[in-house]
Symmetry: C3
Subunit: 349 residues, 3 copies
């Protein structure tokens, strides 16, 4: 995507870019994307959630990305696509601020970066100011590393990955191609493993690595610990939100997504294409099948063998009512015994 276009494209160009069927005026100049409600006459909007279908009648958008099934509801220019939300997502890459692409004043390799003579930096990389890259690190073609990052010895960053400012990646880690790593992420710290003995706890040095597949995104301040005697593995296409804890030896299958503030304890394996909600906890040493959904704030305490949706927790209530239910929860077993006793009595008659 060329950025010297000043964000002005014709509707026909956008249609080609996203593989849509163009209806209406292909020469329309488009300067941005917005919601159906907010879009102005130079912006593109999209209809994905059918709830917003009535807004097709009132939108001022220059054109709308939509599914062919709603075509009759709208008289203006349109990009018809079988997956309008996906088409919208792809088009956002065109309209992203050029500022997302600056990396320390656009100098390719900042003079203040400290790069070991034994590190290898491929062509077309951008290395931000004050970033430190240690011995034998390998930075493949087209990688962008923001300011103030630390890349440990022997670590390998795959082609086209984009690492934002102030990321810390320990030694001997592998990050795949086209990954996006947000600020504050820490990859490769020691896992939380200590052996008890008479005087306290003996540290277990973690001898293995973290292997991150291609097209992975890790949100701000997320942590991925290195493995003890086996690697921590994050599969291709996995997306992880902010402030997520991924412990030592965890394996996460391809294309699984994990929302913010979740935590996965050591040695647990999560399948492919799972959807883990926000604030979910998953205990250690269990496994979760492919295609499992876990709703927000659930604690997964045992292995899940079948796809489907799983939950735990108690519902939101006014605090005064909640206190009463909470007291009864702590007497549930007694309540059950009393119920059983009544049933026995009733049966005898």
């Amino acid at each position: 995507v060329s950025l010297d276009r000043e964000n002005s494209w014709t509707l026909a160009e956008l249609s080609d870019f996203v593989g849509a069927q163009l209806r209406g005026d292909g020469k329309l100049k488009i300067q941005g994307i917005a919601t159906l409600q907010d879009a102005n006459a130079s912006q593109l909007a999209f209809l994905s959630n059918p709830l917003y279908r009535p807004q097709l009648k009132t939108t001022r958008a220059a054109a709308v990305i939509m599914s062919a099934e709603f075509e009759k509801d709208f008289s203006g220019s349109a990009l018809l696509h079988e997956n309008p939300y996906y088409a919208y997502a792809r088009l956002t890459s065109i309209f992203a601020s050029p500022n997302t692409k600056t990396c320390e004043n656009k100098v390719a390799i900042a003079s203040t970066a400290v790069i070991s003579g034994r590190a290898k930096i491929a062509s077309a990389c951008t290395i931000g100011a004050h970033t430190v890259i240690e011995d034998d690190a390998l930075i493949e073609e087209g990688v962008s590393i923001g300011a103030g990052c630390f890349i440990g010895a022997g670590t390998h960053i795959g082609a086209g990955s984009y690492i934002n400012a102030n990321v810390s990646i320990y030694h001997d880690i592998v990050v795949g191609k086209r990954c996006v790593i947000h600020s504050g992420v820490v990859i490769g710290a020691d896992g939380f493993g200590f052996a008890p003995h008479a005087k306290g706890w003996e540290k277990i040095h973690h001898l293995c690595s973290v292997k991150i597949g291609d097209d992975v995104e890790l949100g701000a301040n997320t942590c991925v610990d290195r493995g003890a005697l086996t690697d921590t593995v994050i599969g291709e296409g996995v997306k992880v939100d902010n402030l997520v804890q991924i412990a030592h030896n965890v394996k996460i299958g391809e294309h699984t997504v994990i929302a913010g503030s979740s935590a996965i304890a050591g040695s647990t394996e999560i399948g492919k294409r799972c959807m883990i909600g926000g604030g979910v906890g998953i205990v250690g040493h269990i496994s979760i099948a492919d295609g499992v959904t876990v709703t927000a704030r659930t604690l997964v305490t045992k292995s899940i063998k079948n796809p489907g949706s799983y939950s735990s927790g108690a519902p939101l209530m006014p605090s005064a009512d909640w206190r009463k239910s909470a007291v009864r929860f702590s007497h549930l077993d007694e309540m059950h015994r009393r119920l059983k006793k009544l049933e026995n009595k009733a049966e005898k008659k």
Copy 2:
């Protein structure tokens, strides 16, 4: 507040500073603040929680900040104030360590900072060592930025704000005046938005910004994501604790406070003067009225339309008892059916 006083003030000066009514010896030298129990004869103490009223008889404090209603319990010097806790809070600013004010060896703009020629830095700013400020950033008067920070292109920091070491602020963000941002905070990372398609997930580039009002404080390692098609907005006077996740498009009303390790999912709106306890989760796309209190570790799963206190969860129990209640929880619907059956039987007689 002058810092060359070596932290020695007279009681009369402190009384003036905080707008209290002085009782006793205004010439007393005060060198610090402490609790009623710990204060020595050169320190000021305060009485806010009536539970500590008996300590008025035993404290060795030079003087006590207190409400006039307790005046008769104490024979020493006093600062009478209708809100003693507020008066205490204001006075802490006087006794804060001068070390809080050092920023990279007191050099105004560190020689090792990398600042774009296109950024604007107003007068009386302190910029720490190795901080990076990108093109077109605007740093207003009297801003302090600690060491190792990243300020993205086009970002605007309001007058008098204090940004601690190792903070990452992406491009095109607005931070208000007199804000305090603690170390490790990340503002403006992409929200967690991906469109599903046959081969995985397509990234949604987040085209909007984060707008933070005046007098906001963000705790260490807290994250605030940028909006997709609308800004993420944090209102004036909002206070956020450590390790809090604030997702894309969230709006938080003025003077709301959010305790540590909470998480707010995308597009949710929180009212003014709410009090959100620690570890709270709030799902996406809902709204919470002004003046709502949410107790610690609650999961808010639906909109809250009325002020008041809300909770969820189950109570703390010894693990052995808890296991029994937890089993019964999973059979609650069956228990209810059995109860209903007994009621029907009883009614027929």
Copy 3:
């Protein structure tokens, strides 16, 4: 531990190092540690969990660390030790990658570090590139500080501590000897304290410190706030995982361990040798006895006076079933009243 041995030791040397009883060929060359299942003929394995005892028959390991009680199950070379897991933990220190020891290209004090002339750096310290050390900081003998760290004025780091890249330690903090601090940790930010007044919230400046004992480990992106009028204290030998929030004035007793994503609110005291599971929340102003275990994701809402295991929460269920139980939870008090009524009726007969 010498690192120029290229990770090759004899079994006899390892036996001496860990104080085991050697059985078999002491001259065997050992080049690493692995699990019973994965070990090759030049690696050492260990048996700690009796579940893995059958693997003694099939392992290809050069030798096995094990308890004498299983000696007869295994015909090869062995290191007999009463605590095989502890012996394994100690041996990991020998086989850790030499890369864990590099710190900015092995320069002792990086030329790009900015160190106040008033700071004191003892002998044998390593200071990483772009690290900033402020006035009057004291770095004791043999400390390693990674790249991009901030060490505030007056802060004291004990001998032999290892601080990874991009750590932020505010002013006037004390870190003990032989501590390990992982990347992204923030120590000494202001606690979350504000006094309400008519126009909003007045900041309480936190005048005290954080005191961290010897042999403490803090995981990546964990936060420990400074105290208001008393110090935040972390006892000797405490181990804290990633993304944990430790609020102002908290005291944690010796050798307590706290798993990832937990949060401890202000002024709470936790005893010695407690085990706090992952994602646990502990409210403020309570105390927890020595030797308490808290299971994963529990919310501790009141003081715990006796050792033992404590839990809260509701069990994992398929979402469809869970919805029914959750509805009944909100009517538990009503269910209890209906049960009581039936009991009264039954008694009258």
